[in-house]
Point group: C2
Chain length 358, copies 2
């Protein structure tokens, strides 16, 4: 058996111990003393052969530059005493969602939800049978429905994402996820997440990172399933949002979703959303389209070691191949900047052993 | 020595162990095995006499109903297998800031910052010597300056909180905190935090809670010092905010603070802010004024055990005494609701042994 690389295994424990000891003298509480004791024991325990079993944390990734760059970055920022060391509290990694953590073709999954939701809600709105864009959606003619451009989109979103309480909306999303199937893969949409990215998030968390979603998608839509599917709790999901209003109904308070845009978490909005919700600059960012360019710029421009990664959709057989000409997930300017600045570009075809979970 | 109440000491460790074991079979990662091992050892260690030393976690609180209610609540929601048990991830406690965690008289401390900042910035704005509300502030006549009402307030906030990058603003706040002194106590403003509330937050965190600030104050203003003073990291600070804009300056990205209100985190806005930033309903909420009423309603209306607490400023000798008639921190409707609904009302005079840290 190879010698145990102590520096890598016990880094996280040592940090905790140091923090606890510093605080211990000031606070002298039982809880702090407990933490110190626990961490001391944890350090001993990391040196045992059981803990040292060394498995590949990213088995769905082929060996290659992207995987090497990611692992090297994580090793550098967690190396205690090293020049690139970053304390755990600042190990923030941000992930775009559509096209980065799950698929986004042939339409954003949230758009699929909205179109299905029009059908679900139609019995309560008989006038929709003759009123566009609803009439076309009900006839199955999405192309005509969406030909109304932004005005049509706003009407669809208002009808399906507003005028209800947050609880009612969450219930509608959950119900849809249980029954809806993706048109190409005939699977629940939540099965179309990328196995290599699930592993990557787990790997980062095991190394003291916190993983956040920073997506143009709806914050309330994603929070319904992000914990179960990605292991990301609601408070680490950032996205676009509509305004909400606090009301009393039958003597009980509710939050009602209004048909007004509050925040668009895309492009220039992503660094703004990061500052607003997290208040610190991430050290790692993952995206797949021009909508992620500013988030990657903002992350990469911080001091110290930084990781900026683009997922490039290059696999028409297992998923889809698209970039500069795509209407969804267009990747053009960000790809040029990635090449100019040596950001990591992941080719789904070359770098991923598997795409979807088995 | 009294027998060790195992149920109370090791609750948190047992929860973790169960969670880790459940996940262990699915994930089989080294990190998870490590966690299981660490927690096992931690349980053993909580049973040792060292760990069992039983100190009062709230020494700055007098014995009385408020202290008993708080401790009883914490014991109930952490009692594994009990009817009121709440998993750690859902143990969210929210705190108003001004008047709840630190003092707010004779003016909100952020207003004191803004007024001082006008003086600091005056050399760069010679026109302020003749332009209201700045001319009066520079002459030391705050009353005349603020007689311009909302328009004057907006001008002061725009001049001191916008037109600069987020980094520049943080720097300005830090510099002010280092030098400014409170007019009555002649202390740095960050010394005017409430010792009983510091203990309470520490006690909650030691019991697996996460503590969030939900304040009408500025989110960027509070994030500068909340970690150091309260142990609350930036991502757990929610407050009022101005809009921001992403820009490139000399090829480096910056976030510029704009003179436009983005979100007012007060009154009805507090439950909205909680849903927007946290995405889950807290189980405990602490406030001191009518601006906190809806936050307490929203928290108290959830299922299961809930704790809603008002700090009542009743101590003119050690701090201030004010409620229904006060222009700052007015406590009127919320006090009536607290009495009608048996929320906990803390009297600073009766219930706090000390007010400020020694």
């Amino acid at each position: 058996m190879a010698p145990i690389p102590t520096s890598r295994i016990s880094v996280f424990q040592f940090e905790w111990l140091t923090t606890c000891m510093k605080q211990g003298s000031a606070l002298r509480s039982r809880a702090i003393r407990l933490q110190v004791l626990k961490r001391l024991l944890a350090i001993v325990c990391t040196l045992s052969p059981l803990a040292a079993a060394h498995a590949d944390p990213l088995p769905a990734w082929n060996e290659g530059d992207p995987k090497r760059s990611i692992v090297s970055f994580v090793e550098r920022v967690t190396k205690h005493g090293g020049p690139d060391f970053v304390p755990p509290a600042e190990r923030i990694a941000v992930f775009d969602n559509d096209g980065t953590l799950w698929a986004e073709q042939p339409v954003y999954f949230q758009v699929a939800f909205a179109l299905d939701q029009v059908k679900t809600l139609a019995p309560r709105h008989p006038q929709w049978r003759t009123e566009e864009p609803f009439a076309s959606i009900l006839k199955g003619d999405v192309k005509t429905a969406l030909s109304g451009g932004e005005h049509a989109a706003v009407q669809i979103m208002a009808a399906t994402h507003a005028g209800m309480t947050t609880d009612e909306f969450q219930h509608a999303v959950r119900k849809w996820l249980d029954t809806a199937r993706h048109p190409r893969f005939k699977q629940p949409y939540t099965k179309l997440v990328y196995q290599p990215m699930l592993e990557l998030m787990q790997y980062l968390r095991a190394n003291g990172f916190r993983t956040f979603i920073v997506s143009g998608g709806g914050i309330e839509f994603m929070r319904v399933w992000a914990q179960e599917i990605y292991g990301i709790p609601p408070e680490q999901v950032i996205g676009s949002s509509g305004k909400m209003q606090y009301e009393m109904r039958d003597d009980r308070p509710v939050l009602v979703k209004l048909p007004e845009v509050d925040f668009v978490d895309d492009g220039d909005g992503k660094p703004v959303g990061i500052q607003k919700f997290i208040g610190r600059r991430p050290i790692a960012a993952f995206g797949n389209s021009d909508g992620d360019q500013q988030m990657l710029q903002w992350t990469a421009a911080g001091d110290g070691a930084r990781l900026a990664v683009l997922v490039h959709h290059t696999d028409d057989a297992r998923e889809w191949a698209y970039d500069r000409q795509s209407h969804i997930g267009k990747l053009d300017k960000a790809l040029d900047e990635a090449r100019a600045k040596s950001w990591v570009v992941v080719s789904m075809k070359e770098d991923w052993k598997t795409v979807f979970p088995p």
